[in-house]
């Protein structure tokens, strides 16, 4: 056993850290230190900067624009990106549909879509959930009717995050209404500029621009936009879920909130001393940080497996469950530590900039235990697949 990164890996970390500090535009760097309130435009700008450097998709195979780094370097790169406070990149193209097209798409699809994901010419969003199909995703009712060389799509997708900024949407649609529900679903790529599509943004709890409803009214979609074959959508969805598991371990966000908590606790005074010097507050922070260390070790185990070219062990199934809960607890503590300042809601110059970011982020992360398969669904899956408990 060896729990340290090698000297070369640490040198790589320094290189990445220095580059990020250097490459981030000054105004963005200021915001990263303070509120971290980035717009989708900031995210796109940062995406383009990374693309120019060739670092926008380290997890892609080199031939499609990846960096060729091993698992440890990719992990270090992500850690540095997350702790730098730089804007998060849109995950839908880079981490979801991109890898799926690489694995299951046709050559034509790879040529058509991958370069524009890398260059930020096209942004993507996800069309899975429907008003009547949340955790029971397979009951989805948006239909794609066979019309010769194309499909006609009708229905409604919801929680289509960032659809208002996106150019394309990847959808699960029903292509065979008579098959068993999982068997009649197809994974379809749809151009959001197609006639018959309407995107209606919806305010989130954190007032961050995210959620939308997306309506499809007789939308024409060429058949060449099917990924993985007609009626193979459920297999595609499950493959994508595998990608999401480590994506949602929340190691970076946890680290980031922890930094903010300590920063605020070092600034605010209780009885004339910084909160960080009070045993009660130190203990609250320590408890979360200690749990984070345990969580970090679980993700390191998954990383070490990947580094050896192996599938992560069954313990990686708990990463989403534990990480999302932990990041919520951290945002809860951040709110608590702010005291009255936690009342603030999108003001300027009222509180410390770092404090302005907490409330909306606290609200935003309430979604973490819901999206990507709610934590209750995660438990169902682990009970069945890993503990092999009897089904009801």
């Amino acid at each position: 056993m060896n729990l340290s990164f090698t000297e070369e890996e640490e040198a790589f970390r320094r290189e990445v850290r220095a580059w990020i500090q250097d490459a981030m535009p000054a105004d963005m760097r200021e915001r990263a230190k303070g509120s971290g309130g980035f717009t989708p435009e900031d995210s796109a700008t940062w995406h383009r900067i990374l693309h120019e450097k060739g670092w926008v998709a380290p997890h892609w195979p080199k031939e499609f624009g990846g960096t060729g780094w091993d698992a440890a370097r990719r992990f270090i790169f992500n850690e540095e990106m997350e702790t730098s406070g730089a804007p998060q990149l849109s995950v839908f193209g880079l981490s979801m549909v991109g890898p799926l097209i690489i694995s299951f798409g046709t050559d034509a699809q790879r040529k058509r879509f991958l370069p524009k994901i890398l260059s930020a010419e096209e942004f993507w969003c996800q069309g899975y959930s429907e008003p009547g199909a949340g955790s029971d995703l397979a009951s989805l009712r948006t239909t794609a009717e066979d019309a010769g060389d194309h499909f006609i799509v009708n229905g409604q997708k919801t929680w289509t995050s960032y659809a208002q900024y996106a150019d394309w949407i990847f959808c699960l649609v029903r292509t065979d209404p008579n098959a068993k529900k999982q068997a009649g679903i197809t994974f379809l790529l749809i151009d959001l500029k197609s006639p018959g599509i309407e995107v209606k943004p919806m305010q989130t709890l954190g007032h961050t621009p995210a959620f939308c409803d997306t309506f499809f009214d007789n939308v024409k979609v060429p058949k060449e936009n099917v990924v993985g074959g007609v009626n193979q959508g459920w297999t595609m969805a499950k493959a994508l879920l595998g990608h999401e598991r480590t994506l949602l371990a929340m190691v970076g966000p946890c680290r980031n909130v922890l930094q903010k908590i300590k920063h605020i606790a070092a600034t605010k005074l209780v009885d004339g001393r910084p909160m960080l010097e009070h045993p009660v507050w130190r203990a609250k922070i320590a408890r979360l940080e200690m749990r984070f260390r345990a969580h970090l070790m679980v993700s390191y185990r998954a990383l070490a497996d990947q580094q050896k070219g192996k599938m992560p062990g069954p313990e990686s199934s708990i990463l989403k469950l534990v990480g999302t809960k932990l990041v919520q607890e951290m945002t809860e503590l951040a709110m608590e530590i702010m005291g009255e300042s936690s009342l603030t809601w999108y003001n300027e110059g009222v509180c410390m900039p770092i404090e302005e970011s907490i409330g909306p982020y606290f609200c935003y992360e309430r979604a973490a235990t819901i999206y990507g398969g709610s934590n209750e669904i995660q438990r169902n899956v682990i009970a069945k697949m890993i503990l092999q408990l009897p089904s009801s």
């Binding site: 056993m1 990164f5 320590a286 940080e289 260390r293 070790m297 534990v322 503990l387 408990l389």
Partner: protein, 369 residues
């Protein structure tokens, strides 16, 4: 970064696991808990012959030159069937202290025979008025002639009722100092106390016990920092043992959920119980993962690096480990709270480990945020 065991470690873990399963099933622990000693000196000797007692010690003292990881692996695997031999007390508490504090002559006299399984050790450090503070002691070592006279009272000395040699902490003129005291020396009186987990410890009174200079381990005043290190080893050892307990309890519970029927179905088909079992699995894997970090870092010289993981691990035992123990009892229902069923024995051992070498609050307080 690599979490895999090397071939020798893999082999050691497997051998210990096989021994626990085949030669020391829980019934053996049940029989021995009513015995005066509580374990079998012949089995101890066998452990010495197999080399298990020396895995973490250098070859110069008769060990096998491994790391603390090997020690932790032995403990983790012995825990599966509650093997009662005093590995933690003698090898970790006694042995690691002797190794770090003693000179070659003392190693040869006290450590090597223990590694060979001929003797056992105990660390007499805690006192009634203290709480996880190795310096908060009143036992005094007064210089007298060529040596010292030691007087004081020690509590909860693990294996203190049977150890050949006690390592006693006492305040000498130069500060907290460690001495080796044969248990059968004049002036040493031992009272056996039963512990919650079916094991035994000793309350030891030292009344003017005379020791020579050669009984002193290291310089006067060197004791506190040595004991601080020992307590980190012990905490990491307890966590490793806790991993063995938690995974056994989880397995027993999952098996019970898959066999016990109520309302005409297996109770493991109920979602409320499935979700509980998954949370037990999560806490167990968190404990296992941070235990890997703490067993590696226990050997680390830099105190803050070492403690970051050791304390985080002991904290996870106190929270997640204890929670797994509680839930495993709960999900076993009525049978779980009988002495007949084994699950409760593991439950009580987890509580014992929680109380030793610093509880949650102790480790929270010393963790550097």
């Amino acid at each position: 970064m690599d979490f895999e065991l090397d071939q020798d470690q893999e082999m050691l873990a497997r051998t210990v696991a096989d021994f626990a399963k085949n030669e020391s099933p829980v019934e053996r622990f049940r029989k021995l808990r009513d015995d005066d000693i509580g374990y079998d000196p012949a089995v101890w000797q066998k452990m010495g012959e197999l080399g298990w007692l020396g895995v973490a010690f250098p070859e110069s003292v008769g060990g096998y030159g491994g790391s603390f990881v090997e020690c932790a692996l032995v403990l983790e695997n012995l825990a599966a069937t509650l093997v009662p031999e005093p590995y933690l007390a003698s090898v970790v508490l006694g042995g690691m202290t002797l190794l770090r504090a003693g000179n070659p002559e003392q190693h040869a006299r006290y450590l090597t025979p223990m590694i060979e399984g001929e003797t056992t050790l105990a660390l007499a450090s805690s006192e009634a008025q203290g709480r996880y503070d190795v310096s908060a002691i009143e036992t005094a070592a007064t210089p007298k002639g060529e040596g010292y006279e030691i007087s004081g009272k020690k509590v909860w000395v693990l294996n203190g009722h049977n150890a050949d040699h006690l390592i006693v902490s006492a305040k000498a003129p130069g500060g907290v100092t460690l001495f080796v005291v044969p248990r059968e020396d004049e002036g040493v009186s031992v009272t056996v106390a039963k512990t919650i987990d079916g094991q035994k410890a000793a309350f030891i009174e030292l009344d003017g016990v005379k020791v020579g200079e050669d009984a002193r381990l290291g310089e006067e005043g060197a004791g506190a920092s040595i004991l601080d290190r020992t307590m980190d080893y012990a905490a990491a050892a307890a966590v490793a043992e806790g991993v063995g307990l938690a995974s056994t309890m989880l397995n027993m519970t999952v098996e019970y959920l898959g066999t016990r029927e109520q309302f005409g179905v297996k109770i493991g088909s109920f979602q409320a119980l499935q979700h509980r079992a998954v949370d037990m699995y999560a806490e167990t894997e968190l404990l296992r993962s941070i235990s890997m970090a703490s067993m590696v870092r226990a050997d680390e010289e830099d105190a803050s690096t070492r403690r970051a993981d050791v304390s985080a691990a002991k904290y996870q035992l106190a929270t997640g480990g204890i929670w797994v123990a509680q839930q495993s009892l709960q999900l076993h229902g009525g049978i779980g709270v009988t002495d007949e069923h084994d699950i409760g024995l593991y439950f009580k051992r987890m509580y014992a480990l929680n109380a030793l070498f610093g509880d949650a609050e102790h480790h929270v307080a010393r963790f550097c945020v």
